[in-house]
């Protein structure tokens, strides 16, 4: 059924590094996108420029990068290859190093400005009828949200049973289970709004588990793989749709609770040079905070810096400022 699907516009390296499949073009564009996002973050037109950077990144990651853009798994595997396979080490690090450098400079700029999975979830949030559904649902709508989550969960379980991803009960297909976990956590939030902060902390435990599994040499999948890796892997595909569907009910559920790359980058935000900081004395209502901040890092008086994607919407709304250390 999937064998004829073909969505990558580029299938060969444009600028082969040392006559290998590694593509310098990918590195250059990735660097350029991060650079543009960094400049835009500091400029006063940042909020207007952001959709353009997001669109360019979306096209670049999904249609142009001809190989798997494996920012975390690839990096860990490449560390294991030091002294054994220099090409693999270079392949992993030439994405990871600029990513770390820019995060230390601008915070989670990759998550907020470049990540296509984040952009896709955010797009749902922007749709007016969905936004209303998410921010202030009437009691009836709240029940409907829970009902929809149960349907999404059931469909994902059905698809998993139907397609039986390889080594079905084994950890390699962690993506499949993470898709389901996203739905369950989103359900937790629908039932209890106050649980959000506690659920957010879960991501660090999950990141730790994920790192341990990868360090053992297990090729774990995640929802990224469905689109960016040019692979029709059932577990990734089912997880990908579960993540997108969850985003219709709870804004950016995957980025909030599970994304291992986002969680690892959020650990670095403490050291970032450019930060979004709440204006002293500014207080906004819960509803307004939810309306402004997609990932709900913005609180009534404060800001959850580790969750902040530096999208600048709160700065534009006058609730926060950009601060340089």
């Amino acid at each position: 059924m999937f064998e004829s699907l073909k969505w990558k516009l580029v299938e060969r390296p444009i600028l082969p590094i040392g006559n290998t499949y590694l593509d310098a073009f990918v590195f250059l564009v990735f660097f350029a996108l991060l650079f543009c996002a960094g400049i835009a973050l500091k400029s006063k037109w940042g909020i207007r420029l952001r959709p353009f950077v997001q669109a360019a990144a979306f096209i670049f990651f999904i249609f142009i990068v001809h190989r798997c853009f494996c920012a975390l798994r690839g990096t860990i595997f490449s560390f294991q290859d030091i002294g054994k396979n220099d090409l693999n080490v270079f392949n992993g690090l030439f994405i990871f190093v600029p990513l770390i450098a820019f995060t230390l400079m601008f915070g989670r700029i990759f998550c907020g400005w470049l990540c296509p999975l984040g952009s896709m979830q955010e797009t749902f949030f922007r749709l007016p009828f969905i936004k209303k559904f998410m921010i202030e649902p009437a009691p009836g709508l709240k029940r409907l949200r829970l009902f929809l989550l149960i349907i999404i969960f059931s469909v994902a379980v059905f698809l998993l049973l139907k397609f039986k991803p390889k080594t079905f009960f084994f950890v390699q297909n962690i993506a499949a289970f993470w898709g389901l976990v996203t739905v369950i956590l989103a359900g937790g939030l629908v039932l209890n709004q106050e649980a959000d902060l506690k659920l957010k902390k879960l991501r660090y435990f999950l990141l730790f588990g994920w790192l341990v599994i990868i360090s053992l040499g297990i090729f774990v999948t995640d929802p990224w793989c469905a689109l960016f890796g040019n692979e029709i892997d059932y577990s990734s595909l089912i997880a990908f749709f579960a993540v997108l569907a969850s985003a219709v009910i709870v804004p950016m559920a995957w980025c909030r609770y599970l994304c291992p790359l986002g969680s690892s980058l959020s650990l670095l935000t403490k050291f970032s040079q450019v930060k979004v900081k709440r204006k002293k004395g500014s207080v906004i209502s819960k509803k307004e905070a939810k309306n402004i901040c997609y990932i709900q890092a913005l609180e009534e008086k404060g800001l959850d810096k580790s969750s902040c994607l530096t999208c600048k919407r709160c700065v534009d709304a006058g609730a926060s400022d950009i601060e340089e250390s």
């Binding site: 999937f2 064998e3 299938e11 060969r12 006559n19 499949y21 054994k84 396979n85 090409l87 090729f219």
Partner: protein, 443 residues
Amino acid sequence: MVSYAKKLVSVLIFCLVCLNSKANCDDWTGFQRDSLHSGNSQVNFPDKNLSLLWFFSPTGRTWNYKSGSSVWSSSACIAEAGGRSIIYAGFYNNNFYAVDAKDGSLIWRFIGGNRFNQSPVFAKINNRPMVFVPCADRTIYCLDGLSGEKIWSYETLGWSYMLSEAIPSSPIIIPARDLSLLVCPVWNSSHAPFNNFQKGEIYVLNAATGEKLYSAVLSSTPLNSPCFGNVDGQPLIFISSNDGNVFALGAKDGKIIWQLTLDSGLFSSPSILPDKEGSRIFISSRFGNLYCLDAATGKVIWTKKAGHAIDSTAAVGTIEGKSYVYVGSYDRNIYCFDAITGEKIWNYRTGDYVVSSCALAKISGKTVVFAHSLDNKLYCLDGLTGSAIWSFDLGKLIWAYNTRGDTIWSSPAVGMAGDKPILVFPCYDSKLYAFSAVKGGSN
């Protein structure tokens, strides 16, 4: 006209070379049967009901999986030597085995310094049956096919405690310089703090004596098994590397004739279809593409995409005058493509990744495809329609898991055990299975 005649002569020479390079037309002399990597045997099973003839288990022990572990060499080799049909295969326990194809009894074994992951190649040199096999101990061994006695060995790199295990590939025997040459790629690496290196090097040795004629470093990554063809009268070696390159080398001197960088890591070997209109090379990539290249220029003729990575080497066969290419993919399918146009003829969905290469043979005169899927089954499909004829359940993996794309999985091989056609499959449960047709029998 001159060009056409030249191509025709090339094809004729090529066929003669292929006939010359194997001891018997029913033998499966190396990885994917021959130096073309056709995987195409003319062995004809009299009946479609194949049943287990015997199995050979060199050790009753199981072992722990580690990333990249393999059990048997990537494919067994089946050849007639001294009036006996013998199966040769390397094993993870540093042993190389010769087994009687008729009953699975052990004939001899040879102990190497490390694992034998790659297929051996069999050839009769000066009427002496010889088996050539590279080992992860950085050495290429030449053994007597009948006794297992070491005739010569060639150490590609002297021992040092900073060296890693070598990653060799299945060798081939080619005729060039009026000699039988052994072509064997070996990847060696040193993780010394200074002057460390990683090099994928192709060694060309005199098969009779083990004397090195030349070698060429082609990549910093491991190389895959080479194939050989005469293109426009020029003997060429085609080889791929894990860093995404395909090379055509002059067989006489190792000079690079053309080089093509493809989309991602290449873990499959090239195979060649000799054709009077121009020989074609087939190679598949981890990006999921199957490429058909012009053997003379390296130009891409057509590309077909599967839903996931392809590691299996393409098997090439001709049915009713038309040539077909067969590959398995990580998208769980076994594909058949028209070799000339690239049109997809059929695909068969298995329950899991298809990583190893297909073997072609005949059942009652009809071409069939034998393929292994990681759903733990060995399949037999109709070569023309892709319909399932037979399958054999090999039992569950004995490892808790395997890292995707890391393990070398064995491929089926077809040959003769005396006058009886057999299908041989070295399995991950440490057993070497042999199947044969039984009239009215069942699996």
